[in-house]
Subunit: 222 residues, 2 copies
DNA sequence: TGACAGGATTCACATATTGTTCACAAAATC
DNA sequence: GATTTTGTGAACAATATGTGAATCCTGTCA
């Protein structure tokens, strides 16, 4: 797994690089956008992390350039939490957005989540905790044994998977799995969650309840 | 079965080689395109796996060179999921295309599937479990005895065969076997599946139902 | 033409699996 | 402690699939 990180502040870069390496990634460093673009052509990257404020070529330009030729997941680092920047970034094609100061843990989680999401598009076998999903075969494996999920349970799991570590409201889940024109009991979902939970317990994955909102799927430390 | 793998990243190459050997293939390794072309002339290959990004001679050039003299199945490994590359690759004569990161299981399946497909073109005898299919003769043999399949059953079996371990929706099956303009009863397929199942039971092959989706053909351990 | 054969399709019913609802329990929040 | 939200088990409803038999085609052949 190759990661490219472009950040002009060396101290911060060093810390992030240290953590990335600890997680087993191969890290390519750049101290500005220009260097980043050079490095980007050196090796196929699996994820790119760009600081917005950089000398020579800034993060936005760099992002725009990369997007001309690649769909690699891009995370932007920025000092301000302004909604404007965020929207601007997504328009340019950034996939995620981390506001400084951030914890390494947070950054790592975003990195993993993006890699996981992009892996889904290309490949058919997803993996997290003790669970593997073979999308093409429509199969879920836990500890080598097949997990027998009903269609709704499978759909739910896939939806959570794609939105790992994101609180999903009941409405969103209903809209996605049941369709926006569903008008049955909102509590139906609870029952499915219950059953899915009981099937994936001890898997290293978990569906947490977010009171007043809905649910959140998380993969505990790997 | 001889396999040639050209991949410059040694770690990755080692892993793939390990799996290929485990599957019983004779493996020839190359760390770049030039070496690959050399090796390719050393022995008759049954399948070639080429990384796109390689020093000296890259995967595309290598693919083009090989195609000048051979119709061996070629799988390209690439880091980006761009449709452009894919199209480009197929134009050059690549047969399949695996995007990094990939699981070994996935790669092995593609390898097997290609070998199977090319076998179909040249030798016309496919084999799995206790079933042999002589494509040219349009015959299916199980345990030495001929299986009498109706045309639809034969088509179904071939379609499943080509999509081993993949969940196929009813729609896909209908489109492929009956044509996209079929508008009869969707349940017709069930009856054919039933009959095919009863004919291939005890063959080591099995048509599993994937509830809410369709069917999945699997070959139990060989 | 008309009987026949093989296969394809449809249909009705049996079964199995899944989805929904509801009432009450448990937990969190106010 | 009252109120709101969520968890849970069981009953029931709805769906999807399996299956056998009847029917419909579409050729063939006398």
């Amino acid at each position: 797994m190759n990661v490219l990180i472009a950040e002009d502040e060396q101290k911060l870069r060093d810390i992030v690089v240290k953590y990335l390496k600890k997680e087993g990634y191969t890290v390519f460093e750049a101290e500005n956008g220009e260097k980043a673009l050079e490095k980007f052509n050196e090796a196929p990257m699996d994820i790119v992390i760009l600081d917005v404020m950089m000398p020579v070529v800034d993060g936005w330009s760099c992002c725009r350039e990369i997007r001309k030729t690649s769909e690699v997941p891009i995370i932007m680092l920025t000092a301000r939490s302004e909604e404007n920047d965020r929207v601007f970034g997504f328009e340019l094609g950034a996939d995620d957005y981390v506001t400084k100061p951030f914890s390494n843990r947070e950054l790592m989680m975003r990195v993993k989540s993006l890699i996981r999401r992009s892996a889904k598009d290309n490949e058919t076998v997803l993996e997290a905790g003790k669970i593997k999903i073979n999308v093409r075969a429509h199969r879920v494996i836990m500890d080598g044994k097949e997990l027998e999920l009903s269609p709704k349970e499978y759909d739910l799991l896939m939806f959570f998977w794609e939105n790992c570590d994101i609180a999903l409201s009941r409405e969103k889940i209903i809209d996605k799995i049941w369709g926006y024109d569903y008008y049955g009991d909102m509590r139906t979902i609870d029952t499915h969650i219950k059953r899915l939970r009981s099937k994936i317990k001890d898997s290293g994955c978990e569906i947490q309840t977010v009171r007043g909102v809905g649910y959140r799927f998380v993969v505990s430390e790997e």
